[in-house]
């Protein structure tokens, strides 16, 4: 089993989507359980990518190609995971808030969450508070992740939390926020459950919030 896992792990780390797909195919053909490939291959590799990013050894380009390699392997794995009754680490709805079209930070968080075993519903950009509320009602996620790049769009995070309260679903979901001007102090001020400064630490926060 080890050689198959190593091939998948290294392919993701190097951002080689073709090798990641080939590795998953070969491992499945050899009868390796899908859950092991997910946990010890794809997720383990993305955890290492996150660590390397936080250590300033990997940068956004390396993270992007690794995430794409992971995603291309995950596509092949998904039917086998479902068939095997493997459950996700949790469900997260993510989006960039109303009035803000910046998405690369949010996309990196979505990729890293998926790489950690979460099911991610990405609402895109310019997401109104009402759209977040409807997504919570429809998808019943454990988490919402909101992103903003501008000080002028940050207030929409507070509006969204108020909208969740008014809809009676605030206590159904944990809210985490991020983005260049966002701070831990702002998160506490608006009643969010947490803040993370980058995509890698967002995964740790998400796991902690989903478990709590």
């Amino acid at each position: 089993m080890t050689q198959y896992l190593e091939q998948i792990y290294n392919a993701v780390l190097e951002g080689n989507a073709a090798d990641a797909r080939a590795g998953v195919k070969a491992a499945l053909a050899a009868g390796i359980p899908a859950e092991a490939l997910l946990k010890d291959g794809l997720i383990a590799a993305m955890a290492e990518v996150g660590r390397l990013f936080e250590e300033n050894e990997y940068f956004v380009p390396e993270m992007l190609v690794a995430a794409r390699a992971m995603q291309s392997g995950l596509v092949l794995l998904k039917p086998h995971l479902a068939a095997g009754g493997v459950v996700s680490a949790g469900k997260a709805v993510v989006g960039t808030v109303k009035g803000d079209l910046h998405d690369i930070g949010k996309n990196l968080v979505a990729m890293m969450l998926e790489g950690a075993g979460f099911e991610v519903i990405d609402l895109g950009t310019d997401v109104t508070p009402d759209k977040f509320v409807r997504a919570v009602i429809e998808h019943k996620p454990q988490l919402i992740g909101m992103s903003a790049l501008l000080t002028t769009t940050m207030p929409s995070m507070s509006s969204t939390i108020k909208a969740l309260q008014e809809a009676g679903v605030r206590d159904h979901v944990k809210v985490m926020i991020g983005g260049a001007p966002v701070t831990d102090g702002f998160a506490k001020q608006i009643g969010a459950d947490g803040y993370s400064p980058d995509a890698s630490s967002a995964v740790r926060l998400a796991k902690a919030l989903a478990a709590g």
Binding site: G15, F59, P61, L64, G99, L101, D126, T151
Partner: protein, 380 residues
């Protein structure tokens, strides 16, 4: 604002001294001396009201306002390709000369379509690139030349020429999409080189006539290209050195064939690791010094690079300026000045354009404090 300084230097004398890493009478002040140190029209209208100036028809940064704020810089020029055109039938969508489409989102024109997303080398070859010879407005160039000459010969201000064309990396990001080009920095380097070579050729075609016109009459010129995020650079220093630095270096060198002006470069975010490279290729002044970004604290930058680089900016626009009290603003000005002003080499400004959520009173408090706390010597 009146001065209480014993001897008031001219803006040019002040600038010359700090560029030579010497102390002047006070630190030079900038607001709207460049296109990237400006302010939202609402903020400007508020400033005019606070200062008792009549409302202005134009952008609001006219000579009476600049003089009232004691700004040492005056800028001329602009991007000189054809202006963006509206998408037919829409007032909220426009396309620029590079084919990038933007939507008005209430505060900015934000990109909604990148025409080279997923492009191949063949696509680059067949792409409808802008034609500089056909799209430069000569009458407008002559206006820029006349205004630069007027400021040069008839005033004491530091004359700034705006960049005539965008930066090589930002153009690649806008035309391909950020995620597309960033991934290609590791997975498709030949494409990045081919695109950058093409963009540099076009940049030069805008640079030459522009600086032939304004070059003799300017003290500094600008470019903008963001290499950093809040937490670090977008790309590894190795990728920057291979894929962006050579093209940026050639742009600067080419500009210098037409003007002896100082070179000012704007990059948002955390770029501490790239500063030696920027110095190496001829950047004299670095802007905006976003103090909340990783390793971009004024104290660290001055200690690490203060003898080799002039800094422009440094006052936090992500926290203190929009949300601070007057006392907090004054304290932050004191902190930035204490870190940056010793030995010259510093120009004070907000660390980027001032957005509409900033109270105009905060802007005035910041500038008044900077004027007072930027003084050198016994008048300080």
């Amino acid at each position: 604002m009146t001065t209480n300084l014993a001897e008031e230097w001219s803006p040019r004398a002040r600038f010359t001294a700090i560029m030579a890493h010497q102390e002047a009478d006070r630190v030079p002040l900038d607001l709207a001396g460049t296109a990237l140190t400006s302010a939202d029209p609402q903020v400007v209208a508020g400033l005019r009201q606070l200062l008792g100036l009549p409302a202005s028809q134009k952008s609001g940064f006219d000579e009476p306002l600049m003089a009232a704020l004691d700004v040492d810089f005056r800028h001329i020029g602009d991007l000189i390709g054809t202006a963006s055109r509206l998408v037919p039938g829409r007032t909220d969508r426009q396309v620029d000369i590079w084919g990038v489409e933007r939507a008005w989102t209430g505060q900015y024109w934000d990109i909604v379509h990148s025409p080279l997303r997923g492009a191949t080398l063949d696509d680059l070859a067949s792409y409808p690139w802008p034609d500089p010879t056909a799209t430069i407005d000569q009458a407008r160039l002559e206006q820029f030349r006349c205004e630069a000459r007027r400021l040069w010969e008839e005033t004491d201000y530091v004359v700034v020429a705006e960049h005539p064309v965008f930066g090589v990396f930002e153009l690649a990001c806008w035309m391909c999409g950020f995620d597309d080009i960033l991934a290609r920095l590791v997975s498709d380097r030949p494409f990045v080189h081919a695109l950058s070579k093409k963009l540099l050729t076009l940049q030069k075609a805008y640079i030459k006539p522009y600086y032939q016109a304004v070059g003799p009459y300017i003290h500094l010129t600008t470019s903008g290209d963001d290499f950093g995020m809040q937490t670090g650079t977008f790309m590894s220093p190795r990728a920057f050195r291979e894929l962006i630095k050579p093209y940026f270096a050639e742009r600067i060198a080419y500009t210098r064939e037409f003007t002896s002006a100082y070179y000012w470069h704007h990059t948002c975010g955390s770029v501490h690791t790239l500063i030696p490279d920027l110095i190496d290729i001829g950047v004299n002044i670095l802007n905006p010094i976003q103090p909340g970004a990783h390793k971009m604290e004024p104290e660290r930058l001055k200690a690490d690079y203060g003898d080799r680089l002039v800094f422009h900016g440094g006052f936090d626009t992500q926290g203190v300026l929009p949300f601070g009290t007057p006392a907090q603003i004054e304290a932050e000005v004191q902190r930035v000045m204490a870190a940056m002003k010793p030995g010259g080499g510093y120009i004070f400004s907000a660390a980027h354009n001032i957005q509409s959520d900033v109270p105009c009173e905060n802007v005035l408090t910041m500038l008044r404090a900077a004027r007072r706390l930027g003084a050198y010597g016994p008048a300080a």
